[in-house]
């Protein structure tokens, strides 16, 4: 039993990692209506920036604040410079641009910082909470807390701020939004900036656990997609719950179902997604979109 609980807790830890990146994915989807393949790579790049500051001797928290600021501005710049020129193009064109961005950022990070793994300091204390033969690492608790906090802030922003309202208007109908005086361009840029910032938080949370190297987020991205799909692409709460479910399900299936084993465990989120989507195409927490013909 303790074993099972231990694996369950471990699954939550993995799920928190997926959820952190899924939040950024959901955010960018909310603002712009596209899936950003480069989201994980941008997070990785931001983590390298933080690492560079820390390596230069800056205290962790100062480095973090600087990194978040740079990420926000960087995200906005990317929207203005790279995404803007193809704004009116078909959706797939935009998606392919993010694929190009993925390849570019990944290679650039390897070029600048090499492919050797880097040690990234953990902001949370080492050690673990022990209870009944089960240990819960403080770092897992920390990641969960931060992810929960970010989720809460996003929820409040979506719900109660003007920018959140504008953002929803832009995502639903950019033309009408423009007519009612919303500055669509800047709202999109703000969305990219914010998503890059949330991504940077994710990268900094993940790096001490997975070790920093240019392909750090590649594997996480798939699970984050799974999490966002499961939870519904328009819900921060969904992203977090989806992430936790995916993390727990794949961990338990990998450990306890012999046929699945650790090699086929990636099939578990796949099965979950397929199942959920067939029963509830908008995801667990998403709103169904009614289409007008």
């Amino acid at each position: 039993m303790a074993d099972f609980v231990q694996q369950f807790v471990g699954g939550l830890g993995a799920g928190a990692i997926y959820a952190s990146l899924a939040l950024a994915l959901v955010l960018i989807y909310q603002f712009t209506g596209i899936v950003n393949f480069a989201q994980g790579e941008l997070a990785m790049f931001a983590t390298y920036i933080a690492w560079t500051f820390i390596d230069a001797g800056l205290p962790f928290w100062l480095a973090l604040v600087l990194t978040l600021a740079i990420s926000f501005v960087g995200g906005m710049l990317i929207e203005r410079v790279i995404i803007r020129p193809v704004e009116g193009a078909p959706e797939l064109t935009l998606v392919i641009v993010t694929v190009g961005l993925f390849i570019f950022v990944n290679a650039a990070a390897g070029w600048i910082w090499s492919f050797l793994i880097k040690d990234f300091p953990n902001p949370f204390p080492g050690g673990a909470l022990q209870a009944g033969g089960v240990s819960l690492a403080y770092s897992t608790l920390g990641v969960l807390a931060v992810v929960g906090g970010v989720m809460g802030l996003l929820y409040l922003m979506f719900r109660y701020t003007k920018i959140g309202l504008g953002m929803r208007a832009v995502a639903t109908n950019p033309e009408s939004a423009r007519l009612v005086g919303i500055r669509v361009g800047w709202t999109l840029a703000f969305g990219w900036g914010l998503a890059a910032l949330v991504g940077a938080v994710s990268g900094v949370l993940v790096a001490p656990l997975l070790f920093l190297e240019p392909n750090m987020m590649g594997g996480v991205l798939i699970y984050a997609f799974a999490a966002a799909t499961l939870g519904g692409f328009d819900s921060p709460l969904g992203a977090v719950v989806g992430g936790l479910i995916v993390g727990v399900a794949e961990t338990l299936a990998g450990s306890y179902v012999d046929f699945i084993g650790s090699d086929l465990k990636i099939g578990v989120p796949l099965a979950i997604i397929l199942g959920v989507l067939l029963l509830r195409p908008q995801g667990l927490f998403g709103r169904a979109v009614v289409e007008r013909a």
């Binding site: 570019f104 070029w111 997609f225 397929l274």
Partner: protein, 356 residues
């Protein structure tokens, strides 16, 4: 050879001008025939070039062109699904892999003669594509993209798991098809012609499919599902068929791949292949006839150029090039070519008008 290309280019231009003018005032005689049928002539010239190429080029270039055609066939399949049926697939590499592995297994374990494997591999991919199409038709847009992506990822460990059949992570090494003695061809030339035949076949199949009722129904579903339904087209049924046909063509491409490379391993068919294929067709031109060929050329040659420019990080250049192409040609290279031709026609016909 160069002479004939020159003539084609001029006839092509003249023909294009003619097309814009609406075909009125066609000059009589041979010139008139050339002008009226410039498309067919251009196609014939292209085929001639394609047939002559392996005798003029070094084997290395022949191999490159063979791979261009292998990718082009896969992209023909993907184009059918994404461009014509409006269904996004981020997992087309999986169907490609199914074809490649079916061929490998048939040749390795069952010792089947290689020509037999082509239709069989395509059939296997067709069946799997149809089966996958059943749940896939209930998903749309983004969600479909992600599910197909997940399948592409899942395929790699799955192939490794069934080691007795697939050779596990070591893969399977095969003898490449030997040219029949009467042709007097070298092996790489023979493989080239096999790929060429496959490419022509794939283009023909899609060409006639799209002109049939099925193709029109597919387009109507893509353009407006509700309207199509009102007119009595059952969207789900056509989406399933699109999946099956497109998967079949990807499977055929996989078969050509196995013949050409002579080696399959799970790590040759990672999710990167699927993403590269999607990038290839979008860059080439979604829904256009020549998009797959242009996409195949892009997928084959641009990574090589990237490393010529920047050895230290070829990805930096490759990524930038993808973005750059999307800026210059948001609807793909085929669209760009179309626009260029249009612009050319306009200036040209203006000149003709002024002269006349």
């Amino acid at each position: 050879m160069s002479e004939s290309t020159d003539t084609t280019e001029t006839t092509e231009a003249a023909g294009a001008a003619e097309a814009v003018k609406g075909g009125s005032g066609t000059p009589p005689g041979v010139a008139g025939y050339a002008v009226r049928n410039w498309r067919m002539l251009a196609l014939g010239a292209l085929l001639l070039l394609a047939v002559a190429a392996p005798f003029q080029l070094v084997p290395f270039r022949v191999f490159q062109l063979t791979m261009v055609m292998v990718y082009a066939v896969a992209l023909v399949g993907l184009n059918l699904l994404v461009g014509h049926a409006g269904q996004i697939s981020l997992g087309h590499g999986a169907f490609f892999a199914v074809g490649a592995y079916s061929t490998a297994v048939m040749m390795y374990h069952w010792d089947l003669p290689y020509p037999v494997t082509f239709p069989l591999a395509a059939a296997v991919a067709f069946v799997l594509g149809y089966a996958f199409g059943v749940p896939a038709t209930r998903l749309r847009g983004l969600y479909l993209a992600l599910v197909t992506l997940a399948i592409a990822i899942f395929l790699v460990p799955l192939l490794k798991r069934f080691e007795s059949v697939t050779g596990g992570s070591m893969g399977l090494t095969l003898e490449k098809p030997e040219p029949p003695a009467w042709t007097g061809l070298a092996q790489d030339q023979w493989l080239y012609f096999l790929a060429l035949a496959g490419t022509v076949l794939a283009f023909l199949v899609v060409h006639y499919l799209l002109r049939s009722r099925v193709g029109r129904a597919m387009h109507s579903v893509r353009d407006n599902e509700t309207a199509a339904e009102v007119m009595g087209v059952r969207p789900a049924s056509y989406k399933r068929r699109a999946f099956a046909w497109s998967s079949m063509i990807a499977g055929a491409a996989g078969c050509l791949y196995t013949w050409t490379i002579g080696f399959v391993s799970p790590d040759s068919f990672t999710v990167n292949l699927s993403i590269t294929l999607l990038a290839g067709i979008v860059v080439g031109g979604l829904g256009s006839t020549w998009g797959p060929l242009l996409g195949g050329l892009f997928v084959m040659f641009v990574p090589s150029w990237s490393q010529d420019i920047n050895k230290a990080a070829p990805g930096v250049i490759f990524g930038l090039l993808i973005i750059a192409v999307m800026y210059v040609a948001p609807t793909g290279l085929a669209g760009l070519a179309g626009r260029a031709a249009h612009w050319f026609n306009k200036t040209r016909s203006n000149r003709i008008l002024r002269k006349g």
